[in-house]
């Protein structure tokens, strides 16, 4: 493999609801920052859009920082398909030889990226939170990819010196997009692609909407969150949450044990939240959980263990049993609401 043949930073742009999704716009912004940091490389930012979308949609990549947009278009390509997207992206890799490919670590991106990386036998780093060019060699295009591991307890910086492209998926919500500028100049390379030769065995039967009960805890003002210390008693949190107007959150430990649904999970592998008040109950405070809630405006931690790590990020810590305190809190608020004056 002649590594010198490979150049530029390619960003896979994921379409959702007829827009380029924020997670991809963030990657375009990060790619712009990277190329500006190392002008000697003379790298371009290339956005790759795949599907039956309009040219207008594909051009958005240019408004958010792409110097060139490759639009792989086919009228029949109405839905994502692992096999078709992989094959089409492989053609771009063979033809255009990207040095770096950034893919958002969304459900779609995490389905597609490993498939592409395995097909072209290159390395892939998952869920990166920081990207830099080799800090020790100012001419180098070697990407230093930093990511959390072991539940966020440890961070690792990963490199791929031997294979190209250098591929990584990037955690949504971490990188910053640049400001939209519809007057930016960029090259628009629309390619009508054939998909008839691609054997896609998976068939989409239907799309189901999530029921209305599905929660979006990222929009809540107050989150009352429980960990493994709550055990099978999340109903205690739910009653209290109802009384104080909160949504119920949970640590990964609680979700993995099946105490509550994945929609409620806060943390590195769950949702990143920043409510006005975050009340952590029976949560020990693994770094992976802290990563998802430490930016909350005000944090109240309740834990039996005075040494629990959660206290280190709390504005106020209460040493005690949440299962004792929460029903008393529910009662307290109820009495307050029912007061005669």
């Amino acid at each position: 493999m002649n590594i010198a043949e490979y150049k530029d930073i390619y960003v896979f742009c994921e379409e959702r609801e007829n827009k380029i999704h924020d997670s991809s716009l963030e990657l375009l912004g990060e790619a712009v920052r990277l190329v500006n940091d190392r002008p000697s490389l003379n790298y371009k930012v290339v956005g790759v859009v795949i599907g039956d979308h309009s040219d207008e949609l594909a051009r958005i990549a240019g408004h958010y920082g792409a110097d060139k947009v490759i639009f792989l278009h086919n009228e029949k390509l109405k839905h994502y398909s692992t096999e078709i997207y992989t094959e089409l992206f492989m053609d771009v890799i063979k033809n255009d030889k990207p040095d770096i490919i950034l893919i958002p670590a969304t459900v779609l991106g995490r389905d597609l990226a490993p498939r592409i990386a395995a097909r072209c036998d290159t390395g892939l780093t998952a869920d990166a939170t920081k990207l830099d060019f080799d800090p020790e060699n100012k001419e180098s295009a070697l990407l230093y990819v930093t990511r959390p591991a072991f539940g966020g307890n440890l961070f690792g910086t990963i490199i791929n010196e031997t294979k190209r492209p250098q591929m990584t998926t990037i955690r949504p919500g971490v990188m910053e997009p640049i400001h939209k500028d519809t007057s930016r100049e960029f090259q628009f390379d629309k390619r009508e692609v054939s998909i008839d030769h691609i054997d896609d065995k998976v068939r989409l039967i239907e799309v189901l909407q999530r029921d209305n009960m599905a929660v979006d805890i990222t929009k809540a003002d107050i989150i009352l969150s429980g960990g493994r210390g709550i055990g099978d008693n999340f109903h205690v949190l739910e009653e209290c949450a109802k009384m104080i107007g909160a949504e119920v959150g949970a640590s990964r430990g609680a979700v993995d044990k099946g105490f509550i649904g994945k929609d409620h999970q806060v943390g590195q592998t769950g949702k990143t939240v920043r409510p006005k008040v975050y009340i952590a109950c029976g949560i020990s405070g693994a770094v992976q959980h802290l990563a998802g809630m430490e930016k909350s405006d005000y944090i109240i931690a309740i834990n039996k263990d005075p040494e629990a790590a959660i206290f280190s990020v709390a504005n106020i810590g209460l040493v005690g049993d949440a299962l004792e305190i929460l029903p008393l809190l529910t009662e307290e608020i109820k009495i307050y609401r029912e007061r005669p004056y």
Binding site: T82, T86, V107, R110, D111, A113, P114, R115, A117, A118, D121, L124, T125, A126, A149, F150, G151, N153, L154, F155, G156, T157, I158, I159, E161, T162, D200, K201, V202, L204, I205, V207, I244, G245, G253, V255, G258, G261, K262, Q268, T269, V277, S284, V287, I300, I302, P306, S312, V313, A314, N315, I316, L318, V319, D321, E324, L328, E332, I333, Y336
Partner: protein, 262 residues
């Protein structure tokens, strides 16, 4: 029907301790568990077995002590268990791991492969799809439910960020399961006694027809340049109050912030 379930023995990351000086993990004394997404995948396989009849084989790559996990899976109801273990396999990234798993799987008969979506130590979600690619099989990842299963095909519900997709795929194929798909059953008493009578099949480098250049640490394109930990600073007020006083404290905070109206 033959169902292969790919699993990993992982350290319980909620019990993890860090050496802050060295920026490395302290592995001693950390309990190991079967990765939750994988264990849910095993449960799915056992339910398919209960309902349609199938032979369920647990497959893992890992150090010799991963045999303990396989014994537990026997006790749950697995019919067969295979451990791919060799010093040459160790230190593998996801690509090299997939090459190793695929090399073994190519030697056996199967109709369906179930892998957990991701492992809690690495959180990559890459080994399932990469193994599928190395076997030339279609994949469906992030499965939340199996709706239909027959000799010919599987119909599953995939969980995306804002909705679900119902997808159909002919067998053989690879699916990756979320931990929420099924609550794993307990080990059976009969199973536990059987678990120690049954043999775990051990496969080493010499048993797999594989190029040493594509496995283990040496064969891995990605390398860990360095590891480090994040500092957490404390600025909190920690109070030791009784239950009633604690509840009042929280109530006061919420009222002060005007969250609690009449």
């Amino acid at each position: 029907m033959n169902i292969l379930v790919l699993l990993k023995q992982v350290p319980d990351t909620t019990e993890m301790k860090i050496d802050k000086e060295k920026g490395t993990l302290i592995r001693e004394g950390v309990p190991t568990i079967t990765n939750p997404d994988d264990l849910a995948g095993m449960e799915v396989a056992l339910r398919l077995k209960d309902q349609y009849g199938a032979k369920v084989t647990a497959v893992t790559m890992g150090p010799p002590q991963a045999e303990n996990m396989l014994r537990e899976l026997y006790a749950m109801g697995a019919d067969d268990a295979v451990l791919l273990t060799d010093r040459k396999f160790s230190g593998a990234d996801t690509w090299a791991t997939s090459n190793t798993l695929a090399a073994y799987i190519k030697q056996v008969d199967f109709d369906l492969i179930i892998a957990g979506r991701q492992a809690i130590d690495g959180d990559t979600a890459q080994v399932g799809p990469q193994t599928a690619e190395k076997l030339g099989l279609p994949q469906i990842s992030y499965i939340d439910d199996v709706l239909e299963f027959s000799k010919e095909k599987i119909v599953v519900k995939k969980a995306l960020e804002n909705n679900y997709e119902v997808l159909e795929c002919p067998l053989p194929c690879v699916i990756t399961t979320l931990s929420t798909i099924a609550k794993p059953r307990y080990m059976r008493v009969m199973g536990i006694s059987h678990a120690f009578e049954k043999d775990v099949t051990i496969k080493t480098f010499d048993d797999l027809n594989i190029d040493p250049a594509i496995i283990g640490l040496k064969g891995s394109p990605t390398k860990v340049k360095k590891t480090f930990t994040k500092e957490v600073h404390s600025n909190s007020d920690i109070l030791n109050l009784d239950g009633k006083a604690s509840a009042r404290k929280v109530a006061e905070i919420l009222m002060d912030m005007n969250f609690i109206g009449k």
